[in-house]
């Protein structure tokens, strides 16, 4: 049965789009049929991170307005055949999204895919509430710092109140994904620890993604980190998180890159 997953956070810049792309790739690599949907109408980015920006012809708003059929707007990934993208419109704003239109698109996607991953815009306004509206489960992306954690808490409250499932009295599954985790800064008490974050948000953890240059590089290359460099620490963390989403039990760890002597020498020289 198809599962609609919203990737949300409240705060901007914490890694929603990066995580949507990385989780999408990881799930699709395991043979699942996956579509990633950009809800950030007006500020679209998912197409860039997915490396599909030159292939976008139609987008989510076109489908909602009935200009094109859903099938015409879906962009199939060139590298992974089971992965598709539904881009957002850059020339519109969130007002172009209607509750009924989004419901129809989601229903159409449910027929075609195993996983529908909705990349929510930042904030708690129309775009974000419609991205979570029809979700079965949510990945709450949080950085280990106070403002991000508080915003995530707010979003968890909305997930429990404003989603269709919640309004029917059902519980929406919520998973916590901690990104940009820097163990050095945690040790120096410049960041909240994992325990602090878990204590405040009290939802189950599905992954800890270490802060890494690989992630930024991957985004700029248009290849999600799980695709461009699957053996690096953040890619392994995303792959584990994706498998936990499918119900597998994997022991939680913070993957680290083993650095050789040469790496250290080079890094020092570069710095």
């Amino acid at each position: 049965m198809a599962k609609v997953l919203v990737v949300t956070s409240g705060k901007g810049g914490v890694g929603k789009t990066t995580s949507t792309a990385a989780l999408g790739v990881a799930l699709a690599r395991d043979g699942q049929n996956v579509v990633v949907v950009d809800f950030d109408v007006g500020l679209r980015n998912l197409d860039l991170v997915m490396g599909a920006e030159r292939r976008v012809v139609y987008d989510l708003v076109n489908v909602i307005q009935g200009v094109v059929k859903l099938q015409q707007a879906l962009i199939r990934d060139k590298r992974i055949p089971t992965l598709s993208l539904l881009a957002a419109s850059q020339t519109r704003d969130k007002e172009a999204l209607t509750e009924e239109g989004v419901a129809n698109v989601i229903a159409g996607l449910r027929e075609r895919f195993d996983w529908i991953i909705c990349d929510s815009p930042a904030g708690i306004e129309r775009g974000a509430t419609l991205a979570m509206r029809y979700a079965d489960a949510a990945v709450v992306v949080t950085n280990p710092e106070v403002s991000s954690v508080r915003d995530s808490d707010r979003v968890i409250g909305l997930l429990d109140a404003k989603t269709e499932k919640a309004e029917k009295g059902e519980r929406i599954d919520k998973h916590l994904l901690i990104t940009r985790y820097d163990s050095g800064r945690v040790a120096r008490a410049e960041m909240l620890s994992i325990d602090d974050v878990l204590e405040i948000l009290s939802i189950p953890l599905i992954g800890i993604i270490p802060e890494s240059e690989d992630v930024l590089r991957a985004s700029n290359l248009g290849a999600p980190v799980t695709l461009s460099n699957p053996m690096c620490a953040p890619a392994r963390a995303y792959a584990d998180a994706a498998r936990r989403l499918t119900g597998e039990t994997i022991e939680m760890s913070i993957p680290v890159d083993k650095k050789g002597l040469l790496d250290k020498l080079f890094r020092r020289r570069a710095a």
């Binding site: 707010r154 409250g157 429990d160 405040i200 009290s202």
Partner: protein
């Protein structure tokens, strides 16, 4: 006695109306007092704990006469909370204040109304929340206590007519006694509150001792100031 500086002990005044018995003495006063004695013999303790107003419109008494009457009534366990129908200038200090604008109601309604001690014992409504109160959520429950089994997040608020009990961490705002219940308290297992308030008296996080941070604590009203202390 040393005076303690209270940085946030601001005063609040509120108007409020109450129901009270009005006693109307008639001349001659000595005879009227004998009638009262008769009445008390028949229903002992009737006036105990009840608010009573003395209506002096029917008699003309000097300041000393009023003082004598009030002390006579007090000797019979009748506490006079105010005087009606008298010239404020004619009454000396030490006497109850002069009241105006009273309306007559059916005395049986008043007698049926429970005495103050019974009011406190009346059944309190309460609200139990078994999910955390998330940032941005506001729980308002004016009719009684609120108990939160989880935490109150930073940026969330709980407003209760009675007390607020938090079994998790209180990180947001808790406001107890919002309807003027001064005996309401805030109790939590871990105090990291942004703001504590009881009946309008408040302390923001900055005014709460840093030593209490992360400790089990309670807040209550004492001497028109909000006190916060660790629960041992």
């Amino acid at each position: 006695m040393t005076s303690v500086a209270r940085p946030h002990g601001s005063m609040r005044f509120r108007g409020r109306t109450y129901m009270a018995f009005a006693l109307t003495p008639e001349p001659p006063v000595a005879e009227w007092l004998a009638q009262i004695d008769e009445w008390i013999r028949n229903s002992a303790g009737f006036f105990v704990g009840r608010p009573v107003v003395l209506d002096l419109a029917a008699v003309s008494l000097s300041s000393a006469g009023v003082a004598h009457l009030v002390s006579e009534l007090e000797a019979r366990d009748i506490r006079i909370m105010g005087i009606e129908g008298a010239d404020p200038a004619a009454l000396g200090p030490g006497l109850p204040p002069v009241l105006k604008g009273g309306r007559t109601i059916n005395a049986s309604d008043l007698a049926a109304a429970p005495a103050p001690t019974a009011t406190e014992a009346k059944e309190e409504n309460s609200l139990l929340l078994d999910v955390p109160v998330r940032s941005g959520q506001s729980v308002v429950f004016p009719s009684g206590d609120v108990t939160v089994l989880g935490s109150i997040a930073s940026g969330a608020e709980v407003v209760a007519g009675g007390s607020v009990h938090v079994y998790g961490t209180l990180r947001g705002r808790a406001m107890a006694g919002c309807n003027g219940n001064r005996s309401a308290r805030i109790l939590c297992r871990k105090l990291e509150a942004e703001l504590l308030a009881i009946d309008g008296y408040y302390r923001a996080a900055d005014d709460i001792s840093a030593a209490l941070r992360g400790r089990p604590a309670q807040a209550w009203l004492a001497n028109a100031a909000l006190s916060v202390a660790e629960i041992e």
